[in-house]
């Protein structure tokens, strides 16, 4: 180049400005003041539908030729704020919310798979996901191969030509297990298929899967994101970096779609084409939309996510250390403990903390576990995680009940296992509660 332009108007060589920190994004991303009223907090748009400017405008909206609101099954201004916020927190390109984490998973797989397609999943998943993938998806013609995720090569060995995705929880429910996502992402990349990570247990504050090679992220926003045990919800987030062409392997993305008058989603919407398709086809035709009120509660919850997660993991660490030193406790599976086989992976991938969900077993086995669960006064005995309240559960009889004995043992939910979700109460009170309950169980 001989001539230099006087003014670098295109600014093409200039580095991008420093992006806002995650605490700033948790409060501001997606939520500018309302353009009409100036309302600073996000209003709850409790409306089913939106007026069209004209017949032509309506047609443009239905054709996806312009952006806008038609009907709250597809888009709603309150839900949109939450979608953009979660996309921003994950460092992704776009997100679509759903009625629950399970619904978000359905949106992802319906957008990816044709009948007869397959995928490979870690066997260390939330029990409900194992049932959804292994039993209910089978009725739609989708086959899931479950593998022991501790050796990443198991994913490669299980891949078939019909496999269209790998699905994992990096910080796995019911707890204590951390996967080597970098190695698993390399296998997915070589195979030319997306890596999907359920990031519910870690949240983007502790772990951002896209930075380690994930292509899609799933959330149950019901858990730490909403954070207060008030609101069901799910989200599907797209990195925007996956090349869906792959020699025609993903026809749902690259072939003209009969559900949309021959529109080709990847070509038309590029790096947010997967989200557009999940919304415009799967959400439209199956209908598991998030309510605006639940979106509002979740948006409000996310504003304090960084503060809450710091306290969640600090208290979980203290409770795990207490339990590890207790004579009645046989084992504790928390990756924040030095004794954990996953401690090195946790330090690599989760430097801010290994989550607040973990499991342990009592020397007295199942009977002592039952006694413990029934003797606590502060921990709540229920089937949820990521609440401000501390929660206790026996997975084998609840969340992982539909599995076989072998599946339960493989998922870390054997008969002696007790699961804790450590909340935000005074940690000494939590330890005192466990202390009296362990004495009662002894």
């Amino acid at each position: 180049m001989t001539k230099k332009p006087k003014k670098k108007s295109a600014a093409a060589s200039k580095a991008a400005p420093r992006p806002p920190g995650i605490e700033t994004l948790a409060i501001h991303a997606g939520a500018r003041p309302d353009p009409v009223t100036g309302a600073r907090n996000t209003p709850i748009y409790q409306t089913t539908s939106y007026v069209f400017d004209s017949v032509d405008h309506a047609a443009d909206l239905f054709n996806l030729q312009t952006f806008g609101f038609i009907y709250s099954r597809l888009t709603n201004p309150t839900v949109s704020v939450l979608e953009e916020r979660i996309a921003a927190l994950e460092g992704g390109r776009a997100a679509v919310c759903a009625a629950s984490g399970h619904a978000a998973q359905f949106l992802a797989f319906f957008t990816l798979l044709e009948p007869g397609d397959e995928f490979v999943a870690s066997r260390n998943l939330y029990g409900g996901s194992i049932t959804q993938f292994g039993i209910s998806f089978k009725r739609l013609g989708w086959t899931c191969h479950f593998v022991d995720p501790n050796d990443p090569e198991n994913f490669r060995r299980a891949l078939t030509p019909k496999c269209k995705a790998i699905f994992i929880e990096v910080l796995a429910n019911p707890g204590g297990i951390v996967l080597d996502i970098e190695a698993i992402a390399a296998i997915a990349r070589e195979a030319g298929i997306p890596l999907i990570v359920d990031n519910t247990c870690a949240t983007p504050y502790l772990f951002r899967p896209f930075e380690w090679g994930a292509d899609l992220v799933i959330h149950s926003t019901t858990k730490f994101l909403s954070g207060h045990g008030t609101s069901m919800g799910g989200a599907l987030v797209e990195s925007g970096k996956f090349d869906w062409t792959q020699g025609g392997r993903f026809p749902t993305m690259t072939q003209p779609d009969p559900a949309y008058h021959g529109l080709t989603f990847y070509e038309t919407f590029g790096d947010f084409g997967f989200t557009m398709k999940a919304r415009a086809v799967a959400l439209r035709d199956f209908g598991p939309c998030m309510s605006p009120a639940n979106a509002f509660y979740t948006i409000t919850g996310i504003e304090t996510l960084p503060l809450r997660m710091d306290r969640h993991v600090a208290s979980a660490q203290k409770v795990a250390e207490y339990l590890e030193g207790h004579p009645a406790v046989a084992w504790v599976s928390y990756a924040g403990l030095r004794s954990s086989p996953y401690h090195a992976l946790a330090r690599k991938y989760l430097p801010k903390g290994a989550g607040s969900l973990f499991t342990f077993g009592l020397k007295g086995g199942w009977e002592a576990g039952v006694k413990l669960v029934e003797s606590v006064n502060l921990f709540s005995h229920l089937a949820n995680i990521g609440d401000t309240r501390s929660l206790i559960l026996h997975p084998a009889s609840t969340t992982h009940r539909q599995l076989t004995d072998e599946q339960r043992a493989a998922a870390g939910a054997g008969p002696d296992v007790v699961r804790l979700s450590v909340g935000l109460e005074t940690v000494d009170d939590l330890i005192a509660d466990l202390d009296q309950a362990l004495a009662a169980a002894d």
Binding site: T24, R32, P33, R40, H57, Q65, T75, A95, F242, R279
Partner: protein, 176 residues
């Protein structure tokens, strides 16, 4: 070696445009010559043309295979040089390999037609052509879609859950 990038999913990381810069372009330009505009209503170029028309832009289609016929109410021309009216921006909906010749044509017509901006669509990039355009006083944007950037900068893309990367406590204007 930086070559042309034809993969919509992998924009080169070095290509950054300030939001304020893109906003200035999109609020300054009124008439766009769209090279590669398609009469087929499900094609991305037709989507972009219709969207930009709806935002008040005049879009003049350029497509040699369709010259003389209308697209979305506008007469199509075979080449930029055939357009009788003035236009501020050239939008390149052609492959990277063809971008250089279109940029050179825009440079040649800039004074006569009032061209200030050459904008290459997602997946379209020719760094050498961009340097020639900038040296000739044109503003050049590559590997972006004006429809998507317009939607992102003025709030509409956020309605579809897309990360606009805009953080602001100011009340937004939905249209410029």
């Amino acid at each position: 070696m930086a070559g042309p990038v034809n993969d919509a999913a992998h924009p080169p990381p070095s290509l950054h445009y300030d939001d304020a810069h893109l906003r200035r372009i999109l609020t300054g330009v009124r008439t766009i010559a769209m090279v590669g505009a398609s009469p087929n209503w499900v094609r991305p170029s037709n989507f972009a043309m219709k969207y930009l028309q709806g935002k008040g832009f005049r879009v003049i289609p350029v497509n040699p295979g369709h010259a003389g016929k209308p697209i979305l109410g506008e007469t199509t021309y075979g080449r930029l040089a055939d357009i009788p009216d003035r236009f501020d921006m050239v939008d390149v909906f052609r492959a990277s390999a063809e971008a250089g010749a279109i940029v050179d044509a825009a440079i040649g017509l800039a004074a006569a037609k009032g061209i200030k901006v050459v904008w290459m669509q997602i997946g379209v990039r020719d760094d050498a052509a961009a340097a020639r355009g900038e040296a000739a006083g044109l503003q050049v944007v590559m590997n972006r879609c004006p429809k998507i950037e317009y939607g992102r900068l003025f709030g509409e893309l956020s309605w579809s859950g897309v990360n606009s990367r805009i953080v602001s406590s100011k009340r937004p204007r939905l249209t410029p």
